[in-house]
Amino acid sequence: MSALLVQDGGPLTTIQDLGRFGHLRVGIPTSGPMDREAFVLANRLVGNADNAAGLECTLLGPRLEFTDERLVAVTGADMAPTLNGAAAPAWQGLRVKPADVLRLGPARSGVRAYVAVAGGIETPLVLGSRATYPRGRLGGLDGRALRKGDRLPLGAITAARPLRVRPDRIPAYAGEAEVAVVLGPQDDRFTPAGIAAFLEGPYEILPQSDRMGARLKGPFIEHTHGHDIVSDGVPMGGIQVIGEGQPIVLLADRQSAGGYTKIGTVCSFDLGRIAQIKPGGRLRFRRVTVADAHAMLRDSRRALDTAIE
């Protein structure tokens, strides 16, 4: 059977699809790729459906061996991919043959790279998804990150020609980003000075950041009266401000509910930018209205749909 062989898993390479939906109400996170746009482009480059399972590689990539002929694409963080030792271009479909070895190195820019293989990875569906949630040991391969010796079953392929992302659409991960944020649901629990400090920034991404959340350090955000609330649901991209007046942006593997004030929510189309900032990189928040955000979401979908040539 067709498989992808893991010669070296790298520090944190997980199987992801677009996510596991319908179980947040019992505390099971959506998971899925931290940079949705890069993930979807990788799938489209090899002719897969957007939701086909692929790999998310973190800071340092894996070494993978193929067992048959098919297309593969690498997007996201620049991990200087090589095919059988020779530099191979990212952001385009590549044809591989049996015994070919794809290697991703340390991230030169960005944090998370995506590998899509034509046919997709076909580990078992768990609650309707193949996304890995390591803390809950759910999905992916035995609910864990990949390691040496793993054998990932691949789906059947249909004839497809390799595509590429238009060069002007390849994101440059600058180590700094400005992201759109809608204030609320608890912006009324912050003083005007607190909100102003938050919107002024910048905030540095701390090394403790992970798939649950990006921990930030920067200007003190002042509360009106304490940081505790009667616990409520934590939206994707929700920005909790804890006791020290510092924000945490909650991401794909976040807790479903929490008892800290949330000053705002990062818009869905900008979450991938946060996922690609290395620790030490900086982030600014730009306030938008819900109507602005919906217009920007439409633009971002259109940009995604026209990125490939």
């Binding site: 109400r25 505390g27 809950g136 649901g233 509910a257 919906h294």
Partner: protein
């Protein structure tokens, strides 16, 4: 009074909004949240995605390319007028065996001392109460419950643990929770249930649901071990009654 006369609709980015019905831990308020969630899913409104009920708010995910914020808000306001507890299906009562002995209840003695009770009295009061599950979450399957006698109200731990074994039954403030996966914790651990609240290998990995009632049955270590063995073999089902 911290139940709002009208729901507050609060945006949560471009793909979610929170319907806040009040600002306190109150069963009537929570039942209205659960009723609103129930009615919303019955409505099958295109573009409505996941929902996350909590004590006093319902978080609703939506696809703005399918349903607009204003249209969704109008629907939620209309449903709220009908969101009464009697629309909900009958509640379940789940009986969970709980061992309060030795390492299973590693903070029982300290909590008893803090409360000015003997450990036996604390066990009797804790196991004698009936608990209500407001919602499930934080980690997969973890129930947020109240129901303890006022005597058991206790401040949270000053220094939260970094690791709590799954199944640990613990109290903090007026709340009782059961840790569902190994996780940090700030509640006092009184005992442990051998039943899995979250089992990633099961077809339905989550045991408890928002709106459930929970009773604990005190068991000794031998019975804990016996039930744990049955759980491992996939041959234990906790007793569940539907009202």
């Amino acid at each position: 009074m911290t139940i709002w006369p009208e729901p507050r609709l609060l945006p949560c980015g471009d793909r979610a909004l929170s319907v806040e019905l009040g600002d306190e831990v109150n069963r009537e308020l929570n039942a209205r949240v659960l009723a609103l969630e129930y009615l919303l899913h019955q409505q099958r409104l295109p573009g409505v995605g996941e929902t996350v009920p909590s004590y006093r708010a319902l978080l609703v995910y939506y696809d703005p390319l399918v349903v607009g914020y204003d249209a969704l808000s109008a629907t939620l306001r209309e449903l709220w007028t009908r969101a009464r507890p009697d629309v909900l299906p009958p509640a379940r009562t789940v009986e969970l065996p709980c061992c309060y002995e030795g390492e299973m209840g590693f903070e029982l003695a300290a909590a008893a001392q803090k409360l000015g009770l003997s450990p036996d009295e604390l066990v009797r009061l804790h196991a004698g109460a009936e608990y209500y599950v407001y919602f499930v979450g934080f980690t997969p399957g973890l129930p947020y419950m109240t129901g303890m006698p006022d005597r058991l109200t206790i401040p949270r731990l000053q220094n939260p643990r970094t690791k709590t074994p799954p199944g640990s039954v613990a109290i903090g403030g007026v709340q009782c929770c059961i840790y569902s996966i190994e996780s940090p914790g700030g509640f006092w651990v009184l005992g442990r249930t051998p039943v899995r609240l979250y089992d990633p290998t099961a077809a339905d990995p989550i045991l408890l649901r928002a709106g459930d009632h929970v009773r604990f049955r005190a068991i000794d270590r031998a019975e804990y071990d016996a039930i744990a063995a049955l759980v491992d073999a996939g041959r234990f089902a906790p007793r569940i009654e539907t009202a």
